[in-house]
Symmetry: C2
Subunit: 229 residues, 2 copies
Amino acid sequence: MITTIGFDADDTLWQNEAFFRLSQERFVTLLADYADPDHLMERLTEAEMRNLGHYGFGIKGFVLSMIETALDVTENRVAGSVVRELIDAGQDMLQHPIHLLEGAADAVKALAATHTLILITKGDLLDQERKLAQSGLGEYFDGVDIVSDKTPQTYQNAFSRPGMTPSQSVMVGNSLRSDILPALKAGAHAVHVPHDLTWSYERADTPGNSERFHQITSLADLPELIATL
Amino acid sequence: MITTIGFDADDTLWQNEAFFRLSQERFVTLLADYADPDHLMERLTEAEMRNLGHYGFGIKGFVLSMIETALDVTENRVAGSVVRELIDAGQDMLQHPIHLLEGAADAVKALAATHTLILITKGDLLDQERKLAQSGLGEYFDGVDIVSDKTPQTYQNAFSRPGMTPSQSVMVGNSLRSDILPALKAGAHAVHVPHDLTWSYERADTPGNSERFHQITSLADLPELIATL
């Protein structure tokens, strides 16, 4: 009997990776004179991974990694106007309107009537709060955990609030690495809702045979699945 | 009878503003050919305030504002090597060792034996977690709230956990604007511990006549004060 449902936010409830891709395209176009797109993307991903331990997840760190990569590939000769465009790209990302994914609003509203809902998301603190506010879904969540990383301990904590246990909780998200595997490890159920666009960092192998692992193609199918658990 | 003590972190438990000042000095030196120090600092503060609604508080947004200001004052002609130094300054800040303030560790350890302690801090999520871990004080806190801003609602929430009420709680911090005034508004007690270096944003008038407002010069005096409340 499931009492609690954890929802990932980016690319589970609303579009996110698509906005990163747009900025990456801008980045690649701006630096086209210095390196080809594949090389630029490789260097950018390297910078993001190198900086993750300092910057954490989110748009601000991404912009700083784009600027650093622009300096790297141009040997510091990048034009100031290009740096400014990268800053502008980040500002645009921090203000982009919310695009809810198909079925997300209905699923959240329906399940809020019968279950305790917790939003569990990583990224920039203020940006995640802004997106939740603009989504119009804030009132349906009983708790919001904006975390620096998603580990088994994250889900252990999130699903051990008064009256909850991991075994009676389910985590719903698009990232095998961040949403599914650590939630299963914490003893919770997990529902994978794949998204067309997934950041390479978030990919992982599908978990082996686990009765607590489930997969659906759209959040529209979530209430029906939850009813069977 | 006080049951709960909220602690601010930056410039209350450990040095913070000093590291921002060092980076600002680097910024002013790097751009000395373009503008005088006062003008540079004025422009930087304007950029920080303009961007606060997008970036929130913390080092990553500060670095982005430094880069933006460097572009502004040079009309995009800033050298790439200067932009790189600003990024490096941010990376240094994100790795600086923790300098606990005088009396902080003893006060936290002593009060943890008799009270529930909550850390309430704003800034970059991962950076604040890192500093708490490195401070060695993490185990003494019963809760950690890393928040995007400090409003009366922040303290209302923090001090309304099970078994707590704002009227039996006290907030301890160096910022009149962020720690003291909103905590008093939420109905809590507040202890101001001024720090020599305070960011202009955090300044405010001392609250008027309030029995719940207190001031001490060092955290070493905190246990004695709490005992009288």
